[in-house]
């Protein structure tokens, strides 16, 4: 049977022939629906399709509960993005979207390392071309940066896979017995772990916003899924690293004022929540972590849609240029409020359920209060966004373009979906076939959900002047690009020894012979 990601990949192939934008658009939509149907229809926990690579068996279709859940949200979100981007997605990007989303979905349903690696790299390549632009130099640079760092991670993963294969003789997707460090390095880059996170703000702030909406949902979440499938440790150490990520992301985000940079850094922080959930040994926390992934895709998508709509209608993206928008764009403001309350984990909003689950699974004080602190930070961050973008009277930008109906519809649909899930946990549990057995709406958990937001609300007036917006550049040389440039400089020196002088070349070859002979003489 077909892997649920394959309809999209096939649509990409078909798209090579079909050149009309409308046709491609509906082709993608159709493929997405087929893919969603496949996820519902195919039996779980059974090997459905195999292939072979040399004498190794590849498991191309294996549906487990977790991967089905993540796949469902991946597919649903892609449909919502299609609605949002009805008038924005270009002909070429539609086809690349097929590959990007298709491989992101397909990677969830493979059962061996080789096909896992294949889709892992395919995501990077598709993303490279999605970001790439023939004319914009900024985007070329972003794309180059993106693929270089992701291929670095991919190669590390490949080395880990080979080490593991060499040790066990198996390529089944299971926690490895050798080379774990290389797996972790590869995954850390993909999910934007602190220190390897630089590509996230760099990419999502530079690319067109409709693509940011799309891409932000997939790449790092695939990393989280890989973390869930591959990394399995005895201790809870991963959870502490996750906490570090959650706090660090906030710390990095809070002083920025470019809308999408803030949202990107908050991805890092939210990924931290997921890592905490997955890193803990309790079943509830793991379910919570994965559930948070699902929620996160929704509200982060909404946040990016909000930012995109603001950018589309005013032409500005920096908070220092924005303000007083709530009357001009009420719908966007509403979406912003919903998204903020969701990401802050406010009760009866989307993020609350999963955060409550994670908190319920925590057995250590440090983690609990750490997450609460991160919650305060997150709330503060998005209160800042809401205040400076919609309420503050410092600026008064004009509406340049009226956003089309499709964009509004996208935001409305996704908000509606989020509210539905938030109010109806039972339905969510049925849809995703999970039963964590937690009382979501007990007074203590409601209190623990409300507390961070209230604290942040109280703190905001005090901290306002420290975190007030300022103009900033999207482009900054970071550690990795500095490393790259210093390598290039060194490399230049190395290759300058080719002077084109024949005598020099001849003496090199004779010298090689001499060295060889001397080695033999001295070692023998």
């Amino acid at each position: 049977m077909l892997n649920p990601g394959f309809p999209l990949l096939l649509a990409a192939l078909l798209g090579l022939i079909l050149k009309a934008r409308k046709i491609r658009y509906f082709l993608t939509a159709g493929a997405l629906i087929i893919s969603l149907i496949l996820m519902f229809a195919l039996p779980q926990d059974k090997i459905l399709t195999t292939a072979s690579f040399f004498d190794l068996e590849l498991i191309l279709n294996y549906i487990s509960l977790t991967s089905r859940n993540i796949g469902l949200i991946f597919g649903l979100f892609a449909l919502l993005v299609l609605v949002y981007g009805y008038s924005l997605l270009s002909l070429a990007s539609l086809n690349l979207l097929n590959i990007f989303v298709g491989s992101s979905i397909a990677i969830l349903f493979v059962g061996d390392y080789i096909s896992f690696f294949f889709f892992w790299e395919l995501i990077s390549v598709a993303a490279f071309f999605l970001i790439y632009d023939k004319v914009e130099e900024k985007l070329r640079y972003t794309a180059e940066y993106y693929i270089i760092i992701h291929v670095l991670g991919g190669l590390s993963l490949l080395f880990g896979i080979l080490l593991n294969y060499n040790f066990t003789g198996e390529i089944i997707l299971a926690p490895p017995e050798a080379g774990l460090l290389f797996f972790i390095f590869g995954i850390a880059i993909k999910l934007g772990f602190l220190g390897f996170h630089v590509w996230i703000p760099k990419t999502y702030a530079a690319i067109p916003f409709q693509l940011a909406v799309l891409m932000a949902a997939y790449t790092s979440k695939v990393g989280v899924y890989a973390l869930y499938r591959i990394v399995e440790l005895e201790t809870n150490i991963v959870a502490y690293f996750g906490l570090l990520n959650a706090l660090g992301g906030i710390l990095l985000a809070i002083f920025h004022s470019h809308l999408r940079i803030i949202i990107s850094y908050s991805i890092i922080s939210q990924i931290g929540y997921m890592i905490v959930g997955i890193g803990l040994s309790s079943q509830i926390a793991v379910t919570g972590g994965l559930f948070h992934l699902i929620n996160h895709i929704l509200y982060k998508g909404l946040l990016f849609m909000m930012a995109g709509t603001i950018c589309y209608s005013t032409g500005f993206e920096n908070l220092s240029d924005l303000g007083n928008l709530w009357k001009k764009t009420p719908l966007t403001f509403l979406a912003g409020i919903i998204a903020t309350l969701s990401i802050a984990g406010f009760p009866f909003f989307n993020g609350y359920l999963s955060k409550a689950l994670i908190k319920a699974g925590i057995d250590s004080q440090l983690l609990y209060y750490g997450l609460q602190l991160a919650g305060v930070g997150t709330s503060l961050l998005f209160i800042k966004v809401l205040y400076f973008a919609f309420l503050s009277k410092n600026n008064d930008p004009d509406i340049v373009k009226i956003p089309p109906l499709s964009m509004k519809l996208g935001m409305v649909l996704i908000s509606a979906f989020m509210m539905l899930t938030a109010w109806n946990p039972a339905a969510v549990e049925r849809l995703f076939q999970i039963s964590p057995d937690v009382a979501y709406f007990s007074s203590s958990s409601i209190l623990s959900g409300v507390l961070p937001f209230i604290t942040a609300l109280l703190l905001f007036p005090l901290l306002k002047k420290y975190i007030s917006p300022h103009p900033e550049k999207v482009f900054q040389r970071d550690f990795f690009s500095k490393l790259g440039y210093s390598f290039i400089n060194l490399d230049k020196k190395i290759s300058q020894i080719h002077s084109g002088d024949l005598i020099r070349y001849l003496s090199w070859s004779l010298l090689a012979l001499l060295v060889l002979l001397l080695i033999f003489l001295l070692a023998g």
Binding site: S52, F53, F54, D55, I114, F117, F118, E121, L122, V125, Y132, K134, V135, R140, E144, I147, I148, V151, L152, L155, S156, L158, F159, L162, L163, Y165, N166, I488, D491, K492, I494, S495, H498, G500, L502, Y505, L506, W508, S509, L510, L511, A512, L513, L516, L517, I519, F520, L521, A523, G524
Partner: protein
Amino acid sequence: MHLPILLILIPLFTVFSLGLFAFFSKKYIIPLVFTSSLASTAIIFYFIFNRETRLPFSYNLGSWQPDLAINILVDHYTLVIFAAMGLMILLSVIYSLTEITRNKAKFYLLLNVLFVGIAGMVMTADLFNFYVFFEITSISSYALVAYNDKDISLEAAFKYLMLGTVSAVFLLLAIILTYMATGTLNMVLIPERLGNLPVLTRQILIAFYLIGLGVKFAIVPLHTWLPDAYVGVPITYNVLSSALIIKTQFFVLMRILYILFGLNFLQDNMITTILLVWGIFSMLFGHAAAFQQNNLKRLLGYSTIAQMGYVIIAFSLGTPAGIVAGSFHMVNHGIMKGAVFFAAGNLHKAAGSYQLNKMQGLADIMPKTSLIFVLLLLSMVGIPPLSGFASKWLILEAALEAGYLLPGFMIILGSFLSLGYYLSIIINIYTGEKDLSKKSSARAVGLKINEILPAAALTAVCIILGLYPAILTGLIDRAPEFLLEQLNYINIIIGG
């Protein structure tokens, strides 16, 4: 059965009759060349398809008894080069039909001399005979480098000639010394007689062989001719050099080392280790130097050097898996690099230059060729499901299996470096002008079918091999038997 000798004789007949035909009428040249390369390809495929029943196959020239005669051998190891020859001979001739405009007869003469040399080098089991074919290959290579008769190609050919001749002296010296020590040139008889020599003497012999052939397969300090030579030559030579000539020289070196000296000797006396380290150095250096190039052909030349590094690493592991992996990469890199050069030649038609910054905006003019080009470059980096991934997988697996973790890591590092410069090619090709009025110097050109076909065919092979790599491994999986175990090789002639 005279098939193997026909593989040498058919191009040889073509070489000598080309002059005759050209003397009377020029219009017979192309059909003649085409027929002969078709026939050669047919023989190669006959051996490939009937490998289980017909191989190993030995042929003694002059009907002398095998220990006196010059023998010609086709075994499963030979199939490695045969696989590359089977594709490249015909495709390069097809591509050259429109590329070569002046002095066609001479070009095809040299091309066929090259085929004679390669076929002879691969099959011969006699050291001096090998040297003769080595010279034939070298001379035709020098000539083809100089073929365009421009200053740059003449200078490159001169450098190539000087370096090649100096190295050939060492090769000849090694052969003479081997003959003096053993009294025979028959590669089948040498192994047991060579065993009596002192270790140091044998090591020195190996050093001479290594330098003699090392210049030709461009291991790093001896590589200097290659990037220069690649710039001003016809694409056909670029393809053949990358895919066949270099590979053949390395192929023969491995046969000499493993058959004449034996695996145990090589491993006990650090020779495999030296080769391994040298291969890693060669690979990293090639990648690093390719990074700095802004001429596409030079860049690809350095990348060939680096890719040969992978092959050297794989072969010097000394395990059957390593031999299979190295052989796979030899063929596979030949296919990929051949296709890359064909596509680059097509792109050059529009850009008019191989300078990377002058190739900007080509993607708008030649979208299909650019797409193929990008696919091939991704394959070179080793991104699945293209065939580059399969060979990288095999090499890494072989290296780790043999316990070489650090070399494995270096291979990963190397392919990461290679991404950098392949990316710069892609970015240059896929860069457009902001305002359409400022058109780049590139112009649209119609490609002829014989220019599209080779690149497209090889790309198809590349994709198919990526999905079903077992096609190729099934072809070469018995190669280690005839390389690592001297007795198997010796028995082809003496025992059989």
